[in-house]
Amino acid sequence: MGFLSPWFLAGLAALALPVYIHLLRQHRAQPKPFSSLMFFERRLQSSVRRRRLRYLLLFALRALLVALLALAFANPYIKKPAAAAGAESRLTVIAVDDSFSMRVSGRLEKAKSEAQAVIAGLPPGALAQVVSFGSAVKVLTQPVADRAELEAAVAAIEPSDSRTSYAELARALRALGASAKRPLDVHLISDMQRSGLPASFAELELPEGARMKAHPVAAKRVENWAVESVSAPHRVYDPSKVRVQAVLAGFGTPASRRRASLVVNGRVIESREVEIPASGRAAVEFSRLELPHGWGRAEVRLEPSDALPEDDRYRIAVERLEPRRLLFVEEAGRERAALYFKTALEAASGAAFGIDTASPGQLGNVALGRYAAVVLSDAGSLPEGFVKELREYVRSGGGLLIAAATAAAARAALPVAEGRVTAVRYASREAERFLSAGAVDTAHPVLARVNRLEGVKFFQTAVLEMKGGRVLARLADQSPLLVEQTLGAGRILVFASALDNISNDFPLRASFVPFVEQAANYLAGLSEAPSAYVVDTFYELRGTSDPVSTMEVFDPERRRVLSLAESAKARNIQLASQGFYEIRRANGRVDLAAVNADRRESDLDPLPADAVSLWQNTGQGAVSGGAQAGSVRWSLWWYVMLGVALASLAESVVSARYLGKEKLS
């Protein structure tokens, strides 16, 4: 017998309470003066032995109640020797590794034949269960004694692209052990990849009483080269300016010369010979990425092929787009702001945007539909028709940046946005020489890389009075500096200063470039997405505020991933296999996601034998062996609590009886 929380046994000290109540308190002698004690003898008098417990039954019940409560908190259990009952009392779990590394030729077949051999060796009537594991555990059968069902489950195991996670397997085994309420015999059939170990060995703990036997299907280390990573933009506007960089890695390999090729839509664009050091890495850069307009399925390929050819290719999805147009509106003769804005945009986004500048007087014939966003740079009075058209443009999803300064202050209200400029502050005229930025919401995409606007001096700022909206940045005096409002599906950013170097020195600062780039991307609705994903990561299909619309997702095998219900509701999908996923949205837009296996799987170095032995020992049965092997804890908590209930009931009855007697007496 043992206790899960033995410290609670200290509560047995509370037994002193009923003893005190019954023995000491009840029988405390009252002091009485007496003329002389010469006829009393000490040896017969002063002794607790002479005191008699009154209400012996009540005392016994109260002591029992306290003792049982302490026992209940200590959570007692007994160990039942499960092994004594034979194989029927154990559950055999056959865990077959189906991770990406099992694609090395012959490994999975060998693993399946090992599993079949284990099934054949099961004693008659023994319960067994088949699971496969990679990054997650798939339970392929319930605990059954039917060998045919077990064999069919093993035969159905297919290789996956996920990575090995022994921690996930151990967690699943603990859950299986708890639900089966019997000790496990685990047969681990795997290539025993070292990279599958978790950071903490404690995560590998097997359930109590479990015995694990490893069946390694890869006896020695295998040489393997892989394209470890590729760096390329997700969107390309000018292919001539794009560079594609790849890292090539060798795992347990000698120094060798390999050929790396950049392939786009099945056509080799560029090839290079690369020297890869022994078990080392080498970088290669491709200077061209020739793409037709639209999505391109590109990959960096390593030749010649090796034991694991699947990781010799690294897929990337690249979209070639025409540069977006931005309409930059400012007063005639004040082209300074447009110059800074255009220069910053060109420096940052690799010709993602082209800028058309116009003065308020030239806005009569502008078709806003062809612009990704509109910038009003301290524009004064605008044509009424343009403002109306601009409002509709924003409402339908367009973006608008308003830089409000002196000219805007002359207007009664800001165009399109809900608010107005009440005054313009000239810091140099007042006590302060300049104002600096205070609180900046760096979590917002527009301000993520502006370094909190440190060092930027604002000399002229507009005092904004906005109706609603979210303040993204404030000046040091807490007045709003950048405010975001939404109108319909569109976004409006209001900047409380001008974009030139007169009102502030922001255009001269390094943070101006990322600010302009991110603001343009944000207003144009261009999200930053990676060019490649890793297997088992999640791909976001729609944001929480996106309108409900159906979408279809096709996996690399051109199978639909989403059910009908999921296509209208699912917010994300897990990318389960490597290849190109195609996401078709209701508005006709098609996205492409390139998915590659986790490159930790490319390291085929097996676990050392002592690590496997250590893991096996985490199950108590394996440690103790012999007679104690396979013992299971049987909690006595419920029985103790039942005793507590009965004792308290009996105590109530007995004490009521005694109290009744005392009252009568």
Binding site: A29, F34, S35, S36, F40, E41, S46
Partner: protein, 296 residues
């Protein structure tokens, strides 16, 4: 009817020892039958010729006028005795389980004896109050106002601690030079043989010795509801006592002690009388008078 007034609990309600003594003695005497064995003093006995050195105050001047011879008039009263009461005022005498403490009971007894001796018998009376030592001493006398001096001494006899019973007795001899009646009133918490050995020398001058053993009913037959922590009133020591012990062993021991005192006193020619503080005083007075009669 008058017996009722001799009850200690009734006497406790009377303030003033003189009144108590008067109530006791008058009630007691009124209930006595006349006896030829004793008569009160002041009765003429005889004339004796004056001889040199006799006190001139005792000369019968009427006879001298008629006969011109000096005769001394002798009374029976001259055979009156001296009563000396030794009152134990140790702390144990302060015990009571009822309305009357042992010391109060002893005071009533002493006051009654003094009243009886001085008013009824014209005896000289004195008192020694003692605990560890002699606390108060009023020499026996028949002088006017003696009763009040004695009662005053009784009033001041408050119980105090004592550890040794025998210690003060060695000094008593010097105060008891004349023979008479010596009454010892105590609870005698000492071994019987030691008590007798201590008081016996008081008889050497021919005095009659009477021991009044004053005990509370609880001391004779204690009754405890449950275990009790008894605290010795003299030593301050404490002892836990079970009711079973008090009901059996203690009673046997105190009974043996009383019997030993009685036997050893009788063997030594000392009168011994056990007084239960719940009992009236008349029995004690009767005992005293019988002893007094023997002296006459």
């Amino acid at each position: 009817m008058l017996q009722r007034f001799l009850s200690p609990s009734v006497l406790a309600g009377i303030s003033g020892l003189e009144l108590v003594a008067k109530t006791v003695v008058d009630g007691f005497v009124a209930g006595l039958h006349r006896s030829p064995d004793f008569g009160f003093s002041q009765e003429f006995a005889e004339y004796r010729a004056y001889s040199e050195g006799d006190d001139l105050r005792h000369v019968d001047w009427n006879v001298f006028a008629r006969t011109e011879r000096a005769y001394l008039k002798r009374y029976r009263g001259e055979t009156n005795t001296l009563v000396t009461v030794l009152l134990d005022a140790s702390a144990s005498m302060g015990f009571s389980s009822q309305s009357v403490k042992k010391i109060d009971y002893a005071r009533y007894l002493c006051a009654s004896i003094f009243y009886l001796a001085i008013h009824q018998q014209r005896d000289g009376a004195g008192i020694i109050v003692f605990d560890d030592e002699i606390r108060n001493f009023v020499p026996p006398s028949t002088r006017h106002g003696q009763l009040y001096r004695l009662l005053h001494a009784l009033e001041g006899a408050e119980p105090k601690a004592r550890t040794d019973f025998a210690q003060p007795f060695v000094h008593f001899q010097q105060f008891l030079r004349r023979r008479g009646v010596v009454v010892v009133v105590s609870d005698f918490y000492e071994e019987a043989s030691k008590v007798i050995r201590t008081v016996e020398p008081l008889r050497y001058r021919g005095s009659e010795l009477l021991l009044f053993h004053v005990l509370d009913p609880q001391e004779i037959e204690p009754r405890l509801d449950g275990p009790a922590l008894l605290i010795d009133m003299e030593t301050g020591g404490s002892l836990e006592v079970s009711p079973e012990y008090a009901a059996r062993e203690y009673r046997e021991k105190i009974g043996a002690h009383i019997a030993a005192l009685r036997d050893k006193a009788k063997a030594a020619g000392i009168d011994y009388f056990l007084l239960d503080t719940s009992r009236p005083l008349d029995a004690a007075l009767r005992e005293y008078l019988s002893l007094r009669a023997g002296r006459m």
